[in-house]
Subunit: 274 residues, 2 copies
């Protein structure tokens, strides 16, 4: 009887999803670390625990690396805390440092998981070109002085579209999983002195975007051709690809869920300029 009561209580716990943005500069990635190392998850869980009056354990859509930013990270957690959903954003703002922001809160279905329900994720990578750095945008872009040619990079990107084995762009140290991913979008655009890459896929291997960018930059510099890029990709060997691009140009822009989750509608992704 007691067991049953407990189970019912469990079943009735709220499942709260949050849309979170952060400047990752000073954090050791998203995933919880042992203090004194601090990750975004450490801070979020600590402050949400104050808000909900009990320990909070988050699941997150993406484990961003140290120094990587997010405009559209999604997390969820179960709680018996009673704070109304519409008060969470403002209350969290009073507790969190200014480089971590809860943008939206949503009362999700009990079976929603920010990690497991995710359909696609979109990452951007920014490269800044010019004769001198920029102290403002330099936190959020890889500054490369030499001029990159965009056209060959765009040609190379055509090879990553669709379902592929991305082993060539996978760093050692990631969790063991199949290296096949389906890339829905892979674009490069020039906006002033910024080169903006955008990747949308059903998942990403460890360091995959940064390894892609490292090799694409060699294509933009004329060190490699788009055909060589395709060969590197087909070789399924990390040793042929170029070095990993720095973390601070990378940003988790958005996570998409099945429409039935209600998350896509609830989280307005337009407000923060990307």
């Amino acid at each position: 009887m007691r067991q049953k009561h407990k189970m019912m209580m469990k079943a009735r716990r709220r499942n709260i999803a949050l849309l979170v943005a952060y400047d990752g500069t000073i954090y050791h990635g998203f995933q919880r670390q042992t203090p004194p190392i601090v990750a975004v998850q450490n801070i979020l869980e600590e402050k949400l625990a104050l808000l909900f009056g009990e320990p909070i354990e988050l699941a997150a859509a993406g484990r961003t690396d140290a120094g990587v930013h997010a405009r559209g990270q999604v997390v969820n957690f179960f709680t018996d805390g009673t704070i109304p959903i519409e008060r969470i954003v403002r209350a969290a703002e009073g507790l969190l440092p200014s480089d971590i922001v809860v943008r939206q809160a949503f009362e999700a279905d009990p079976d929603f998981s920010a990690l497991h329900s995710a359909k696609t994720k979109t990452y951007t990578y920014r490269i800044l070109q010019g004769t001198a750095g920029d102290p403002f945008r330099g936190r959020y872009a890889w500054y490369i002085r030499r001029s990159l040619r965009v056209k060959p990079m765009a040609t190379a990107l055509l090879h990553v579209l669709g379902k592929h084995d991305f082993s060539s762009f996978r760093a050692a140290g990631g969790a063991p999983m199949t290296p096949a991913r389906t890339m829905e979008t892979a674009t490069v655009n020039v906006e002033g002195d910024t080169i903006l890459f955008r990747f949308c896929a059903n998942g990403f291997l460890y360091h995959m975007v940064r390894n892609l960018i490292g090799t694409l930059v060699d294509v933009g510099l004329g060190i490699k051709t788009p055909d060589e890029f395709a060969e590197i990709m087909a070789a399924r060997s990390r040793s042929l690809a170029s070095p990993t691009a720095p973390a601070h140009g990378l940003c988790l822009e958005r996570v998409e869920y099945p429409i039935s989750c209600g998350i896509n509608d609830a989280f307005d992704h337009q407000r923060l300029k990307s």
Copy 2:
């Protein structure tokens, strides 16, 4: 004879002007401080000394406060160092932290002074509106959740144009000087969720822009009317104006010199987006 030789040497020293940008977040303002307090000037002088092989003492157009940013600070210094002018930007980049950037270098006339030759300075102030903060732009803007009305602020700004006694917006602690300043531009514009103020004057009193903004925000919130703003201005008393706005929304955008200096042409102010 020896004295004369020394004087000639002195007369022949190079006068180098630099266009400098910095993210002021972690610095105790521009003006040199006693360590362990660190100002932008400490860092610049230390690294330029390495570059020029002798101690460097800077004069700067504007003494920005702790936390204030700059896209267009101008400094100058005299040196016997022989590094070619076209190598300075790149060499400085190798030495300076990424939040301080030398954008341009110029071989100025011997009588040019970044401080004393300045004709006008332009400052911007940014306010960010919205329901949740923004971890990226929050470093460079004052986040105000309540909605500000722009029209009454624009009306109030008409009162600051021209030559006025700005005592009402002058903080205690500044150098004793005449409180009269001539304001050439004072505008407010909305760009998405950012409210952007721009002030161009022949000089600014201590905390003048931040005190103006503090009172303008009260006008935007409907706490004060544009007429009351005009009365505060006419009263020439700091006690009537509103509290000082925070430093991190303020940015020194540009300094203009007489055309004969050659500085305006030499320093391209368009490259860094404001």
